[in-house]
Amino acid sequence: MRRFLLFIPFLIAVAIGGFSLWGLRADRDPSEIPSVLISKPAPQFDLSPLEGVPVPGLSTANLSGGDGPVLVNVFASWCVPCKAEHAVLTRFVNTNGVTLFGINYKDKPKEASAWLDNLGNPYERIGSDLDGRAGIEWGISGVPETFVINSEGIVIYRHVGPVLGTKAQKQVLEALVQAGLPQESI
């Protein structure tokens, strides 16, 4: 018994070592926070349209009742990675027929519309979230973030950071299919 007890410190050390090894996995981001919205209805919000851009505003009601799923993308003109994922989102809209809504987070309307002029506007609706309240409702921790919502208005998937790289795009598209996008469109 005493002999066994003496092994306890060793066993604890091994356990801590094991967890540490797990913590070093390359695909683990220690500062990433999982969303609490998954499988829950999208939060309540009502945003007016972005000044100077000819698409309507965005509210909770717009998210459900459509034919298929929607992609809600939180973006801002001051956000560098947003520029990078813009092309991907545009391709989703043009080649996959995805419905894309935008939440323009804490941005100056003038700069946002210039940004969209420059890059093109793939968004069907854009809500202007000037004070960042809608962002908090969605529980975002940074920009960009992208949510997949099904036609019942339930949040299916959330992607933190730009949708760049094969893996991220595959995950978003798969979530869209799961939310009701026809399989053949991807």
Binding site: V80, K83, H86, V88, T90, N118, L119, L164, T166
Partner: protein, 380 residues
């Protein structure tokens, strides 16, 4: 050279110091009595504490007994212990005194760069002046171009390229953009414009940059720089296959080695990896180490023939300077030799091949570079 002198002294000193125990070792180990000394001290401490009245007489007595028992045990232990008396095993020390510094030196040659000098800031006034001068010149050039309604296109190109070298990418975009807005829309300018935008956006190919690239490819479908960045764009929007194929197709158009190929092939293979191990191969002859950087390739691809020559020449000189300081770079010499051959400087090419041959002695007999050197020395 001084480095190897000082380093040699360091290594010698290490060897000598490692050997020194041989001369200093005493015949008996210092074992006995050290523990007893501690116990004797503990005894006297008990005496002191008792005298001070910190512990009672009874406590002191039992503490003394405890310490004394420790002493008796210790003396039994010491008696049972074998105390070495002879100095043996010198051979191992001598062997290690030779092996260890050799290992250290071996490790260093793998990790270090002995030929590189220290470069304290104080000795780099000229370089700093030059940097400041370049900045000033760029500023002057800019003002000149702005004040001149009919400023020459070359001026703007030079300004943009200078900004690129200075890593002031947005300024470069502005310079190339100004040129294009004036209506000077040769594909070369567009390619530079696109590249500066991509650099300014941390490597992201924005739709605007992509449009510029498309513009280049419309009039010059073989433009290497545009194809390279187009591939990056395809990859960024998630079409890795297209990104890979555009590179592969362009490389396959050539039947001989071109200086830009290394970069394209490396990038194509990196993409191929993601697609599950597809590869692009260079024409056989070009198994020789890295070429110019992607940026250099791009720049060279866009230049007029004269500019290209000048550009290549400046790169070659840079390479030659580097090799003068670090002459043990076989692949470097090979590249230099090849570059001189391309420029038609046969004598210099021969010299470079000579340097390469000096270094090629350690290569395995079937190393392809041996043949390249041999062919080069014969003037092919």
């Amino acid at each position: 050279m001084i480095f190897w002198f000082v380093g040699g002294v360091l290594i010698m000193a290490t060897t000598i110091i490692l050997l020194s125990p041989i001369y200093r070792a005493r015949a008996t180990a210092q074992q006995a009595g050290l523990a007893q000394a501690v116990f004797v001290d503990q005894l006297s401490e008990v005496d002191r504490d008792e005298f001070r009245g910190i512990i009672s007489g009874e406590e002191a007595a039992s503490a003394r007994i405890e310490v004394k028992r420790r002493m008796l045990n210790e003396s039994k232990r010491e008696a049972a212990q074998r105390v070495p008396t002879a100095v043996t095993g010198r051979w191992l020390l001598v062997a290690l005194a030779i092996i260890a510094p050799a290992l250290g030196l071996g490790g260093y040659t793998m990790l270090g760069s002995p030929q590189l000098p220290s470069i304290p800031l104080a000795e780099r006034q000229a370089e700093r002046d030059e940097a400041i001068q370049v900045a000033n010149l760029a500023e002057r050039l800019k003002n000149q171009l702005l004040s001149d309604e009919n400023s020459p296109a070359d001026g703007w190109v030079l300004l943009g390229q200078t900004y690129m070298r200075m890593s002031r990418f947005s300024d470069a975009t502005w310079a190339f953009g100004t040129l294009i807005n004036r209506g000077d829309v040769s594909p070369v300018f567009y390619a530079m414009y696109a590249e500066s935008m991509i650099a300014a956006d941390d490597g992201i190919v924005t739709p605007k940059a992509a449009a510029a690239l498309d513009h280049v490819l419309e009039s010059d479908p073989l433009n290497v720089a545009a194809i390279y960045y187009k591939s990056i764009e395809f990859d960024q929007v998630g079409d890795t296959r297209a990104a890979f194929e555009i590179l592969r197709d362009r490389i396959e158009l050539e039947n001989a080695f071109q200086p830009w190929m290394e970069t394209l092939v490396a990038h194509a293979n990196w993409l191929g990896e993601k697609l599950g191990g597809e590869r692009v191969t260079l024409p056989a002859e070009s198994a020789i180490a890295p070429g110019p950087s992607a940026a250099d390739v791009a720049a060279a691809g866009e230049m007029s023939e004269e500019d290209r020559q000048a550009f290549v020449r400046s790169m070659v000189e840079r390479l030659a300077d580097q090799l003068a300081e670090a002459p043990d770079d076989l692949d470097g010499w090979l590249r230099l030799a090849r570059a001189y051959s391309v420029l038609g400087e046969a004598q210099k090419a021969q010299n470079a091949f000579g340097q390469a041959e000096r270094l090629s002695k350690t290569l395995s007999p079937d190393d392809p570079r041996r043949q390249v050197i041999e062919a080069g020395l014969q003037g092919n």
